[in-house]
């Protein structure tokens, strides 16, 4: 395979959403939305995706920056991860997102990569990325889950023919913060809870989000419910930077005089979407924040896990990360 050489495409840089919709209509399945390009260009260079028209969103007005709203903040989808890391408002209230964003890839990639792109990026399953025609690519097999497959990076939960995992570091944080996604199209705007925005292969095996063709993610809204709560983020990867999570945990805990009033605990790297640890959350609500409570959460975090041949190690990882999240948030 010859790499680093993209096939020809037309590049469009619309300045208004309406123009972007127009272009999407015009090119249909041949259109590709691009924000910072950090995921997109990889696909193009590998020639696994060959769009006819690339619609770059960066020139559209009003899609960047962080705004305070009546109930929290709204972050433009085209805001770079570096901007989010540095934003005073986000730092003050949503340290969890800052921490998650700062663990993405490398500083260079964060300078260009956007939050919208990070949330909409495709999975890193190496069979799928190699351009093989697996279920996710429209084929009829999952290479990672075949008797021959190497699947140490793949999922514990929610497999449905495909065993890929969601690679985004910011997605678990936004689910933990109970954020919502503002999705726009020619037909208007709809708001989708983060938890429902990310979808598994059981819902749609070729897409990782609820976005439909013609829809653009314009903003992310984070409510004040967990503003300045106790947060915990940790990502286990083989390298300290420039590496995807084997498992990550993002937790937001509301703690009043030592008692956990509310909790949202989410793991990355274990399912095709960020996995909310509801059983663990239920187990700790109303209890004191201590090692014992943390242990109780851990015991309820990996129930139902179905390890593949090479990824059983992820189970103790999930348990240990949840323990730490509850204990140290």
């Amino acid at each position: 395979m010859l790499k680093d050489m993209m096939t020809r495409f037309e590049l469009y840089r619309p300045t208004a959403l309406a123009d972007a919709y127009e272009l999407i209509d015009q090119f249909g399945a041949g259109a590709w939305l691009m924000a910072g390009g950090q995921d997109s260009l990889d696909w193009f260079k590998d020639r696994a995706k060959q769009p006819r028209a690339v619609i770059e969103l960066s020139q559209i007005e009003g899609m960047t920056g962080v705004r305070e709203t009546a109930d929290g903040v709204e972050i433009g989808a085209l805001t770079t991860l570096a901007e989010i890391e540095e934003n005073a408002l986000v730092r003050e209230r949503y340290g969890l997102l800052v921490s998650a964003a700062s663990h993405v890839a490398s500083p260079q990639i964060r300078n260009v990569g956007t939050i919208g792109g990070n949330l909409c990026q495709d999975t890193r399953c190496w069979y799928y990325r190699a351009g093989l025609s697996c279920y996710r690519a429209g084929g009829n097999i999952c290479y990672a889950d075949s008797p021959e497959g190497m699947n140490r990076e793949h999922c514990l939960f929610g497999a449905s023919r495909c065993v890929a995992v969601s690679p985004s570091d910011t997605a678990p944080a936004l689910v933990a913060l109970d954020a919502s996604m503002v999705v726009s199209s020619r037909k208007g705007e709809r708001v989708v809870r983060a938890e429902r925005f990310f979808v598994g292969p059981d819902v749609d095996i070729q897409r990782m989000t609820a976005l439909q063709p013609g829809e653009i993610l314009t903003a992310i809204r984070i409510p004040s419910a967990f503003s300045s709560a106790n947060f915990y983020f940790e990502k286990v990867a083989e390298r300290k930077t420039w590496d995807f999570a084997l498992v990550s945990v993002a937790a937001a805990l509301r703690i009043e005089s030592g008692t956990i009033r509310d909790a949202r605990i989410v793991c990355g790297g274990v399912e095709c979407r960020p996995r909310r640890m509801r059983d663990a959350e239920d187990a700790i609500r109303g209890r004191e924040q201590n090692a014992e409570t943390a242990g109780a959460a851990a015991r309820r975090s990996a129930g139902g896990a179905r390890p593949l041949r090479y990824n059983e190690y992820k189970i103790p990882l999930v348990e240990n990360l949840v323990t730490r999240a509850v204990r140290d948030a």
């Binding site: 395979m1 010859l2 790499k3 680093d4 050489m5 096939t7 490398s106 890193r124 190496w126 069979y127 290479y143 008797p147 021959e148 497959g149 190497m150 140490r152 940790e234 286990v236 083989e238 390298r239 300290k240 930077t241 420039w242 590496d243 995807f244 084997l246 090479y310 990824n311 059983e312 190690y313 103790p316 990882l317 240990n320 990360l321 323990t323 730490r324």
Partner: protein, 752 residues
Amino acid sequence: MANDSKFTNQKFKLVGTRVMRPDGVDKVTGRARYGADASAPGQLVGAILRSPHAHATIRKIDTQKAEKLKGVKAVITSADLPDFTGGEGELYNVLENCMARGRALYDGHAVAAVAAVDAETARRALKLIKVDYKVLPHVTDVDLAIKPGAPVVQPGVKTKDKKAAPTNVANVTTYGHGDVEAGFGKADVIIEKSYKTEQVHQGYIEPHACLASVGPDGHGELWVTTQGPFAYRNWCATLLGMEMSQLKVTSSEIGGGFGGKTHVWIEPIALALSRKANRPVKLVMSREEVFRASGPTSPTSIDVRLGATRDGRIVAADAAMRYGNGAFPGIWGEVGAMAAWACYDIENVRSVGYEVLLNRPKVAAYRAPSAPMAAFAVESTVTLMAEALGMDPVEFRLKNAAREGTRASYGPTYGPIGIVPTLEAVKKHPHMRARLGKNQGRGVACGFWFNFGGQTCADLIIDVDGTVGLSVGTVDVGGARASLSLIAAEELGIPYEEVRCNIADTASLGHNDMTDGSRGTFSSGMATIFAARDAIEQLRVRAAKAWGIDVKNVSWKDGKAIAKGKRKSLTLKEIAEASPNTGGPISGHSQVVADGAGVSFASHICDVEVDPETGGTKVVRYTVVQDAGKAVHPDYVEGQFQGGAAQGIGWALNEEYVYGKDGRLQNPGFLDYRIPVCSDLPFIDTQILEIPNPNHPYGIRGVGETSIVPPLAAIANAVSDAAGVRMTHVPMSPPRVLAAIKASRAEKAPTG
């Protein structure tokens, strides 16, 4: 005098200083030209079709459609590379590895190639080539490959001394002396352990790249990133049926090689394409191709048995070392067997190396090839033994270390060597006394490398303005131009800035062996000294002529000719300026087989912190102590020490070729093949010892390789210390550490 390599024990003025490297500015400004930076008028772009199968018979290759595509100027298969090698031996293997001949032996094996007017067309042409494969069973694991019934990689290969059926063991070599079994009989404590290391790649930043041009008259030129232009010339010329003098090879700047650029891969293909198309062809590997189809180092599986008496003396040592060679036989198990016990003085010692064939790419050298895995197994066991005897691991090593006069397990008797001094330095180092925190552990390990010398040739020209041009034939991989300029300036007695070192092409200088085996500064340094001495002879003759005295009465000191007894002197510059009228150009020349490369030893200390809940390992402190003989340029010596340790850290903790059961490489890219980046490394502290090599005028030993030998073991000893469980499988990635901790807890838990 000119070619006397005896150690001079002189006081240096320049050697040992930290001057600026001559290639530095070009490299940081982007002006330096690497393999892919050359272009020629009318140049075509080459591309290679590679086997997607680990093992297959190639029934038929249909190139017709590709040939007809507009813009395609040549399509080649093995049929365009007739066999000039006689059909067997190492050269034939090189030929077959460059392009499959009737069978594909690993995922990524080249099958056909095209040259076209642009990359896009070349790529489309590849898609039009139809290859009819019959897929065969394959084997990629060292231990599985030697099991009875395993698929046979090379039916023609039979283990020596065995009339049996073909196997995947291409060769067995044994080293050692004494009576090992009798030795174990005397031992109070015997430790036996098995180890495994995964395959890793050198990971040089610059992929293989070349520009080849063969004209209708049969003469050719090759611009290429290589560690050895002369060797590349010889191989390429032979494989293409050319005279050696018909091919001129010029080495580009090199973006790292570490042994991976001591073998030809795409170069013969580029030349064959150019010859067929009658146009220059540029061929550049993608990173994926580098991983799949260049030469990573061996995966290994090693069993070690060590016996010692209660007072801490090793009385017997034995190792069985299985090294994956990829699809073609090599010498990697043998080198591992030679290096295994080299640090110690052992009465009864044996090591057996097995060359195991696999459906993986042909293994190439990687920085002290084979020694790091041997050291991992041996040094882990040595620490286990020290623990079993209740001795300090450094004391235990000191007690058994080789010294001057020790007979090495691989044969020779050592001269003055550095293993004891490095261990003494480790003992005294403040690192050893630093307190360890929670979940932290410390490991120590030693390492050895042979170092090479070999054929070397150098020219030193004195220009009429008195500046000096030095031409050497060893590619500068690690700062050698600075070191060699320092040596020339030292010998001549002129400032460093007045010497410019150039890497000659194969048409401009006599043969030079490759830059490998840490030989660059040792060998070319020696040749430079001899060439300078030769030039000085002539400078003296010219001065004598000017003064009308006998040359015997002219001495050379501090860059000047001095007349004996008279107060007359002439500087190098003055003699050079007069040279057109005193006999013409002045230049020194030397050609030697640089024997006597001094062996090299190192001892490393490593502290790690292991997170028992995630299996993640952080290297918190690292110290390298190594003997350099003489550190000509201390910065670059330290750089070599640090670089070797950094590569060792990646190897120990993260790097690994992951093959699926289908025999395909799953992680051929830097994202999934995890080389450590800056944030994964601590500052690597270094301490240079200088135990002069008696066989070099300046006492130089090679320094480039030994530093990668101890890290696997040092880190394994540290991780085992921190995690409380012995790690025997490298890389020690989070999944593996976590699994080991879990297994050891299950083992320790009371049953029932």
